[in-house]
Structure formats: structure tokens, C-alpha cells
Symmetry: C2
Subunit: 419 residues, 2 copies
């Protein structure tokens, strides 16, 4: 397997304000091609530092990929240094100079003479086209080592990697490459350790795939990866493992791969031609915001009410003052009246409500911070689920919103909701 | 100025799934102390790679700080390698062994013998206490070089850095340290280039402070940094520059430092004892969600309506069907009726409304995607501002929500809103 070392240049990356997203993108893309990133370094815009980084990288790996430092100014040193390190000389390429002048005239600007640097390359190098900016990249192979130079701005770098670098790596390193197939199974409901328990022996006997559990905002993502020379075989193994996992987790699985919970719910509502309306207290509009994040949500979303105060609950939803008095705003009864209320006001098929104590204040022994009721009213009945969360305000609100969507998802999929 | 090199160890950091947050934290903290990070590297859990990273770091810098690899297992190699590189030998420290055994018995577990590694240190080293886990850190100074080893989990690393590392660095490097004072001035309304224009000569004549403009989600953050031996003097310079910037940007400044726009609005509403209600169409609840993100928002937030459909606008807000018919849901007239409607329904002092086309579909030549109207109804009048945004759905929704809050902020501060 060929080893890759990544270099990011730019003093701003060392100040603690900026995350280096380029190396994360490249690690992922290279991994998918079966090339392994064995290390990475970030250095400032100084000649010595860039030089040492390249020497360090070439010592550790077969391929060194750097991003940044391809601009025209005095502190853009990467190409000069990388060429020196490989024992090559920069020469002006007339076709590149022409392209550069054309780039500037197209943008109605005169080319500053300092930019001529961007048309200079070693004779051994291939030039990588930049479809998003003026700085071309470089692909320089010599003595069994390969140096690839990419621009720093992520949108330029990513397009250049996909269009210019990937095909060349596939041309030169095909023999080392693995086909990687990935799948993500998304679960909501049980916690991470409960998911592990439910998976049981599948946690270790993964049919030769790699499996990782990632907990994110209350969701558990089961990440499966299969790799090998034969993509179809890998795909088949992944399908088998997915079926086995489905057998264990069944109703807790809400989506696969890039699909999100709001998207899944949107799909179900559209399929079933049902309209939804919401009534939110402690989430204050977050549920509506998640739902309308999906383009085209007007097809199945009527709207709803942000009934943050008791007055709003009474006025818009018709919640009875006696219920609020007797059981409180955070209660099974209020959640039910909210769901039924918004269903009635809207005339929608389904009314989904949330009431709870998001904290940090407002909790009591009987009703602690994190106590939440979610109500779902349909033509047939009105169900209310009680939940108890622990954590900061923001986390409680997000978990509650996700739970409300998941209760709706289970209802639409015909799965009984455990109250 | 002393130079620092950072090393993060851990194969998982090279797969492209995980951001290396430790190095970002350390860059920031060290920068605040006046120590300069000149480079950083990430390597997998292999002995050769870790060794080469330390040699590379010691070549470039005076201080090398690594995180990760202090656990008890066979692939936790950092301490062994770092000690070797510094020419030191690991020896068992009986007081550390006792502390470790105590740690395990406190957690009702028997110490696995493999953990004894965590009690071994070179005689020259200072042990750094880990108040959050079993792995102690190490502070090893020799021959004008310093190596600091920290654990990988961010919450362990951060506490150890603050309690154990900072005091030692202050003890040993006081002579090199600068006092750094920072301020962020937050602006909403003008774009980045307009802010630069308004600042004019202040962009270059910064009284010796450093100034950086950061555009984030429609806000412009002006980041000022002053450093020097004398913290009070730096503070004074920063205050003067802040006053000069205030003179130029005046009403566009909505907050300083950590205060957010919703927090600023919350403060103003509380100060003035005013209650707010909202009516949202294209943002679908995002405005309510931003407002209720602030603890204690029930003091000034009544609630509101998510009137995503025309039916909802008519039913809850009493928007006239004739208005919707004649001018459309996305119009100055509808925004006004929405704001007035929610003000009337709620009885709140202020009604804030949003209607717009978030896209990607639904636009026309006359009313393109990104066209937004924000209405604000008070006892005195009802103002509507038209805005035009370009970008993806999510960005348009966020920018719209921020603008609505900023219009409210300006109203509460008595600044005339340019319609």
C-alpha cells in the first residue's frame, strides 16, 4: 500500500482560529481510493519550514500532497521549495503564461507581473488546471516519489483534486488501489451501549467489514466499510451485514447513508399524502425549523404554533386554563391538548406537540430539568410519550426535537410507540 | 520568542473522520501566553513515526507538546519514545504507582498490571496530574529543549494544560511571555468590503494592535489583538481603537466579544420590559428557536406562529385572503399583516414577521429566490424591510433570521431602520 503524507501551509492555520479542513477532505478521499495517509504536518509560510516539512514527508511516505502557498506573492513559496527538494528547476511555460493572461483578461483585469510565477514549472511536472482560480497545481513524479501541490482555498483544492489529481493517481497507482465501499446505518432510540448489546456477536463477527459506532446528537451511526479489489464482492458483503443488523435493530433504524431524520419523515409524509402541523413550547420553533429545512416542505407542512407562554397555549391552541392550572404546562395532559389543539386549528392529519423543561432553571424535584412530553394526535387517537434527558439546555432541545421527529417516523411506519 | 511545535498522535486522526481539536485549543492557549506555534504534525501510533515526529519538532522548535498515546496499551508509545529522544530512561515511581492503584480502587476496579507503565517516568521529568483520567502527563526539560506530553481526550488534555502546564510554562518562560488582550467587535448589516471602506485608515493605522476581519454567517467580526509586557497598557490601546471603530461603524455594531445577537436582543427586551411575538413563514421556526435558545426567554417572549402555508397565515394571524391573492405570500403587504396579526393575537408589545422565498424552487423573475420581507409592528407603526439574498436555502434562512433579529435590535436601540 502506498503511503501519503499531507502538508498544509499557512501561518493562519497555526493561530488556533482556523480548522484545517483540507487535510480532513484529502484523508477521506485518499482513504476511499485505498491510499493510506500516514502523517500530516502544518507549517507557516517560511522557506525553511516548508523545506523541512517536505523532507520530513518524503522520508515517511511515497506521496506528499501539500495545499496552500501557490499564490503570486512573496510568501507563496511551496512550488519553489518543492521543486528544489526534488532536484528540479522552474522554467517558464509559454502555454501557461498565455492561459494566465487570458484568465486575467477574462476577469477584466491586467495581470500583475508578479503573477508570472504561476506559469513556471519544472520540465518534469504535469500542470494541474485550476478551474476556480488563477493558481495551477503541480504533479511531479521523480525517483519513485511523487509530490502534488494544490491551492489552499478549499473550493479550489477540492475541484482540482477530483478533476485533476484523482485520474492521475488512478493512472499511476492502480495496482495499489483498493475499492472501498461504505454504508452508514442510522439509529435513534437506544443508547450506544444498548445498540452494542442488541448487535451482540455482530460487533465482532463483521463478515470482514470494519464497523464503528459514532454517537452524534442523540443518533447512533453504525459505519460499515468493506474494501478489496472487487467492488461488487465488497458491496455484497456489506449488504449481507446490513441485513443482519436490520434483523437486530429493526424499528430503531431510521435512515441510511446521507438521509437525515427530517428527510426520512418528509418522504413518509409525502408517500402517505399526510399533512402535519406542530405546536412547540420548550423547543421554541426548532421542530418547525428542522422540518422546513427540507426543500418542498410546503407539500406536507401546514405550519404551527410556538406556544412558549401559557397565554399562547390558551390563545392559539385552545389548551384549557384548568389543565394548565391543575397539571402544569409540562405535563402529559398539556402535551395532549397541544397536539389535539394544533390538529384542530390547522385541519392537518397529524398534530405533533412538544412541552418540556429545557433548563437550566425552572426544574423541581417532581419535574426536573430535562423532563419532556411529546404528543402526537391523529384521526384515531392521541399518544403522549414522556422522556427524561440530562444535559445542557441546547442538547435537551435538540434531543427533544429529534425524538419528536422519530415518534412521528415510527407512527408513519406503523411501529407501536412505547409510551 | 520561544517556538512551539505540536504533535497529535492517533491513527484515527488520519482517517478523515475526526478533526484534531487538541492542536487548535493549544495553538490558541499558547498564543494567548505569547508563545508561538511554528508547526504541527499528526502521526499514527507507530514507534518510528512518533520518533520522527519528535525529532522533526525538536529541530524546528524549543518546546514540543504532544497529545495522545499515554494510555496503558501496547500502542501507547509516546512516553517511551519521547524519553528516548531526550536521552532519558523510564523508572518506576512508587508514589505514582500508589496514586494509580488508588485511582483504580476508588473506581472499584482492580488495576490491570499493564497500567504500571503509567507510573514510569524519567528521573528528570515532572509528572503532570490528570484530574480526569488515569494517564498522567509529563514535563521534561533538558538541554534547552522541553517536551510536554498530554493525554489525547480533549477534556483531560484541556484541564491538564490549564492546571499543570500553564503554571510551569509561566515559571520557566516568563521572560519570553507577552500579555495578550483580545476583543471582538461584531457587526451586522454592511458586507466585508463595505466594513473595510467604512473603517478606512483604521484598517492600517491600528495603534499597534493587530486587526482581522472574519465573515461568519452574515456577521462581520472585527478581531483585535494587542500584546506587550504591560497588560494595562495593551488594554488601553485596545479601548482607544475600539472607540475609533465605534465612531466609524456606530449603529452596525451589535455586540462585543462572546455576546451573540439573540443575547443582545434579549438584554434590550428585558431592559425595556417589552414582550415579543413572532410570525415566521420561510424560516419555519428558526427565529423562535434562536430566541428561545437563551435561558430565561419566557420573560420577554410570548411565542408565535409558524405560518408556512397560506391557510396558516389566514387562520392564526388573520392575514386577509385578498392580500395574499393580490400581492402574494411573499410581499410587503403580507409581511405587514403578519407582524400586525401576531401582535394583535398575542397582545405583545412587538410583532416580528418573516416571509420570503428560501428556494431552491419557488422563485420567479419578479420574485426571485432570496427575496425576503421582514415586518416589525409596534404600538406606533409597522415597518417592513425588503432584503435580497443569494445562496443556498440554509444560508438564506439563517441570514434572514439574523436580519430579523438585527432589525429588532435597531428598533430597540432607537436606530432608524432603512427600508
Amino acid at each position: 500500500m502506498q503511503k501519503v503524507f499531507l502538508i498544509s501551509t499557512g501561518t493562519e492555520l497555526l493561530l488556533g482560529n482556523t480548522q484545517d479542513s483540507n487535510s480532513v477532505f484529502l484523508s477521506r478521499e485518499l482513504g476511499d481510493m485505498g491510499l493510506r495517509v500516514t502523517g500530516k504536518a502544518t507549517v507557516g509560510d517560511s522557506k525553511t519550514q516548508i523545506q523541512k516539512a517536505f523532507l520530513y514527508g518524503l522520508d515517511l511516505a511515497d506521496i506528499v500532497i501539500s495545499s496552500g502557498g501557490l499564490g503570486p506573492t512573496f510568501d507563496d513559496l511551496t512550488k519553489t521549495v518543492a521543486s528544489e527538494v526534488m532536484g528540479c528547476k522552474l522554467e517558464l511555460r509559454s502555454e501557461e503564461e498565455a492561459r494566465l493572461r487570458e484568465y486575467f483578461s477574462r476577469n477584466q483585469r491586467k495581470m500583475p507581473e508578479i503573477n508570472i510565477k504561476q506559469a513556471m514549472f519544472p520540465p518534469e511536472a504535469e500542470v494541474l488546471k485550476n478551474s476556480r482560480g488563477s493558481a495551477p497545481g503541480m504533479y511531479l513524479a521523480k525517483n519513485n516519489k511523487l509530490i502534488i501541490l494544490l491551492p489552499g482555498p478549499p473550493h479550489e483544492m477540492q475541484v482540482m483534486f477530483k478533476n485533476e489529481v484523482k485520474p492521475r493517481l488512478e493512472r499511476d497507482y492502480a495496482v495499489y488501489m483498493q475499492r472501498v465501499v461504505r454504508r452508514t446505518i442510522k439509529v435513534l432510540g437506544p443508547g450506544e451501549s444498548r445498540v452494542e448489546e442488541l448487535l451482540g456477536e455482530l460487533m465482532t463477527d463483521t463478515h470482514g467489514c470494519s464497523m464503528a459506532l459514532l454517537a452524534t446528537d442523540g443518533e447512533i451511526h453504525i459505519k460499515l466499510t468493506a474494501e478489496g479489489k472487487d467492488e461488487i464482492a465488497s458491496q455484497k458483503i456489506l449488504d449481507e451485514l446490513t441485513e443482519a443488523i436490520k434483523g437486530k435493530l429493526a424499528r430503531h433504524i431510521f435512515a441510511y447513508d446521507d438521509e437525515t431524520l427530517p428527510q426520512r419523515v418528509a418522504g413518509l409524509l409525502k408517500e402517505q399524502g399526510k399533512q402535519l402541523a406542530v405546536a412547540e413550547s420548550c423547543t421554541g420553533g426548532m421542530l418547525g425549523s428542522f422540518i422546513t429545512d427540507i426543500p418542498g416542505s410546503s407539500e406536507y407542512f401546514w405550519g404551527g404554533a410556538i406556544t412558549y407562554s401559557n397565554a399562547a397555549k390558551i390563545k392559539i391552541l385552545g389548551v384549557s386554563p384548568a389543565t394548565l392550572e391543575e397539571h402544569g404546562a409540562v405535563s402529559r395532559q398539556t402535551a395532549a391538548e397541544m397536539a389535539q389543539g394544533i390538529r384542530q386549528v390547522s385541519g392537518a392529519d397529524l398534530g405533533l406537540s412538544i412541552t418540556g423543561i429545557a433548563g437550566p432553571d425552572g426544574g423541581s424535584e417532581a419535574k426536573p430539568v430535562g423532563l419532556v412530553y411529546i404528543g402526537l394526535a391523529s384521526a384515531d387517537d392521541c399518544q403522549v410519550k414522556e422522556l427524561r434527558y440530562v444535559g445542557p439546555r441546547d442538547a435537551i432541545r435538540k434531543l427533544t426535537t429529534r425524538s419528536a421527529l422519530d415518534i412521528l417516523r415510527r407512527h408513519l411506519e406503523g411501529i407501536a410507540i412505547r409510551l
